[in-house]
């Protein structure tokens, strides 16, 4: 490398830090959506970098479906304690209990769609005018059209056909009362970039990403973890396998990968060789061709 060359990870890092600083400067009450997954962990790490030696100027917002892996919640609490940041938890269980939404039933019941109501309520209650998300454009085709600064109307809705143009590095975060923005600092990162960056910077991630023994069952070609609230069909059989998570979401829609990778380098090799996308194991995206766009319009992450 020559003196003035930045490798692609350093260039992505510089871009994301710039976006995070724009958020701190342009908004009054910004929040950072934290799921305990690797993307939100990297986003938080970049925020620490962007504002060091000051504290991260964002409140963490976690939308808890009540169906999380315990390891994720422990990791979240540890990170909050270590970095002395504010955490707000929006509970999907509470939204259900209040009668605002109806829980799905059946074998593939998921609280994925219900999260949107909880998220929008949490944004309104806490008067957040911006929510930072770890979404990446390579994840899904509707996300490929998403801006860094994505405007939401007073109902929290996204209008994909009427997005603000975004040129150079100028971000227009101007809005009216009641409207808010979703901002995606990792827009230009790919799954592999995220993993390489975790390795390069030695960032701590939940143990779920590394191989471990877990009781699972196979459904529609995807391994899912067993849990109290997961009903098995008569034909499905629980078995203990060596697995790891490629993405971490809610237990009901996180597909597990059969893997013995117990370190970052092996994980990266596995991902570089894989022939399916990360969201291929996500039940929530399989519902229709434009499932992601439809959810996003309503105010989803």
């Amino acid at each position: 490398m020559e003196k003035y060359d930045l490798n692609h990870l350093r260039e992505l890092e510089a871009e994301s830090m710039y976006v995070l600083r724009e958020v701190a400067a342009q908004f009054e009450r910004p929040s950072l959506l934290f799921s305990g997954g690797k993307d939100s962990i990297v986003m938080f790490y970049l925020a620490r970098k962007a504002f060091f030696p000051a504290k991260v100027p964002f409140t963490l917002l976690h939308i808890d479906t009540g169906h999380n892996f315990q390891e994720t919640l422990d990791f979240r609490d540890e990170l909050v304690k270590k970095n002395n940041v504010q955490l707000v938890v929006g509970s999907v269980q509470k939204t259900i209990d209040s009668g605002k939404v109806q829980e799905e039933t059946g074998y593939n019941a998921s609280r994925n769609v219900l999260q949107t109501t909880t998220l929008l309520d949490a944004i309104e209650e806490n008067k957040f005018d911006c929510a930072l998300g770890g979404g990446r454009r390579d994840e899904e085709k509707a996300r490929a059209k998403e801006r860094f600064f994505s405007h939401r109307d007073e109902f929290g809705q996204w209008d994909p056909k009427n997005q603000r143009p975004e040129l150079w590095n100028i971000f227009n975060g101007k809005k009216r009362m009641g409207e808010h923005f979703r901002v995606f600092p990792l827009s230009n990162w790919t799954e592999l970039d995220v993993w390489q960056y975790i390795l390069m910077e030695n960032i701590e991630i939940p143990c779920l990403y590394f191989t471990h023994k877990r009781e699972c069952f196979l459904r529609d070609g995807v391994y899912l973890a067993t849990a109290d609230f997961m009903k098995l069909k008569p034909t499905e059989k629980a078995q203990v396998l060596d697995v790891r998570c490629r993405t971490i979401g809610d237990i009901t829609n996180t597909g597990l990968t059969l893997s013995k990778a117990d370190n970052l380098e092996d994980i990266i090799k596995e991902i570089a060789a894989t022939r399916t996308t990360e969201r291929g194991g996500r039940f929530d995206d399989k519902r229709s061709d434009t499932a992601m766009e439809d959810r996003k319009k309503e105010g989803y992450f």
């Binding site: 020559e2 692609h8 510089a14 400067a25 504290k55 143009p165 061709d289 766009e293």
Partner: protein, 423 residues
């Protein structure tokens, strides 16, 4: 770290844009670049195969990979800019894939704004068309440093060298009217794969590089202006804790040039001078930093600096004025209002301006300037004069894409209505 992972750390990043219409083979070309670099995954392929089948299409429609919005899939057109990602062992690539029709000029302009390189596709059977001129003009207006003209569908003209040469000469003639530094030509067949990733066996008369070889090897480190140091303050960092009690850091992304600890700098608009005390990136102190790094700077003197201020080297000052000439592309359905007031965003600065005059409108199909036409509507490109509420510190866009660019925002709707390049 083992060898594979280390190699990955030596990759750099190339952003390129492709403009094209449905018929000129753009989707096929992108599909081939992605497919041959193993960037289309099995489940993506299955999903588009399924959709293509349901729609009764004969072939797998690779455009479905990028046309992600419901409206785009229903109408079979690209409306917006789609970003696609792939990498080879040498580089990571970001493609800004844009529609090519004149009614999507604004999308092409958007895609071009961050690109290092533009691919312009010409159908070998048709030669240089109106749209070729338009795409080349936008690339030059937005100052994309490198243009690669791909003369496609060579298989349909029997791979004739003469046809390639004629189109190349024709394009060189129009390029005199443009401001482009580096133009290359490649004869390809995106469908058959000639000269895209692999060298063509049939066109042995062509001894240049394949498209992918160009994309992988073109020298881009010089694309950033490393001469004029410009640093717009984004955010002031004041930890106000015990350990860093007196720390006052100016956070931002270096727009151009480099800064070295000890450099004498001037803060604009105040004009105060000081010296750089430290350059920080997270918990590390750097000796120097350069574009496009995001850093935090501390100064020797305690002077009043806030967001929007520009820190420059004292021996290299930018221009300053309230009356600015700019080339704009209008983005909004509501037309430009002469004497209208708009909000301006320029670097990290917010101010207002009034549009004083429209000097000419550009006919981007013929590259003729129209001095009598003043009505500027969506997708129009024009040269205008604005007056800002306070002096702007800027460089010509030709010299600096960051300090030379701005956007206009309508006051009531907060929409970005136009983008401008300072002359």
């Amino acid at each position: 770290m083992d060898k594979d992972n280390r190699a990955y750390l030596n990759m750099d990043l190339l952003r390129f844009t492709t403009a094209g219409s449905v018929d000129d083979g753009k989707s096929t070309l992108i599909g081939r670049l992605l497919y041959d670099s193993k960037s289309i995954f099995e489940d993506q392929m299955e999903a588009i195969e399924k959709t293509s089948r349901l729609k009764g299409e004969e072939h797998v429609n690779l455009a479905l990979l990028t046309d992600g919005l419901r409206a785009e899939r229903e109408q079979g057109i690209t409306i917006d800019v789609a970003y696609r990602y792939f990498h080879t062992p040498k580089r990571k690539f970001i493609i800004a894939d844009t529609p090519g029709h004149i009614q999507y000029t604004r999308n092409m302009v958007t895609g071009a704004s961050t690109a290092n390189l533009a691919i312009i596709l010409i159908d070998a059977r048709q030669g240089v068309l109106e749209q070729t001129l338009r795409h080349a003009y936008i690339a030059s207006l937005l100052q994309i440093p490198h243009i690669v003209v791909c003369i496609n569908k060579m298989d349909l003209v029997d791979y004739k060298e003469e046809i390639f040469d004629n189109i190349k000469n024709e394009f060189m003639k129009i390029s005199h009217k443009l401001d482009v530094k580096d133009i290359r030509f490649v004869p390809i067949s995106a469908l058959k794969g000639d000269n895209v990733v692999l060298r063509s066996k049939v066109m042995d008369w062509y001894d240049g590089a394949t498209l992918r070889h160009i994309l992988e090897n073109i020298y881009i480190a010089n694309d950033y202006n490393l001469i004029d140091p410009r640093f717009a303050v984004q955010y002031v960092i004041r930890p106000m804790n015990q350990q860093y009690h007196d720390f006052r850091g100016y956070a931002g992304r270096i727009a151009s040039g480099q800064y070295i600890v000890g450099d004498t700098i001037t803060v604009l608009p105040s004009g105060f001078e000081s010296k750089i005390k430290s350059i920080n990136l997270f918990d590390k102190e750097l000796d120097f930093a350069f574009a496009p790094q995001s850093i935090t700077m501390t100064l020797e003197d305690d002077i009043d600096i806030s967001r929007g201020d520009l820190i420059v080297k004292s021996n290299n000052l930018p221009q300053s004025s309230q009356d600015i000439d700019i080339m704009i592309c209008w983005f909004n359905e509501k037309p430009l209002k002469i004497n209208g007031k708009y909000n301006v965003k320029h670097t990290t600065n917010d101010l207002k301006c009034m549009i004083k005059d429209v000097e000419y409108k550009m006919n981007i199909n013929t590259l003729e300037k129209n001095y009598s036409e003043k009505a500027v509507k969506m997708n129009d490109i024009a040269r205008i004069k604005i007056r800002t509420t306070k002096p702007l510190f800027y460089d010509a866009y030709r010299k600096n894409r960051i300090t030379g660019s701005l956007i206009l925002i309508e006051e009531n709707t907060n929409e970005t209505v136009a983008v401008g390049m300072i002359l």
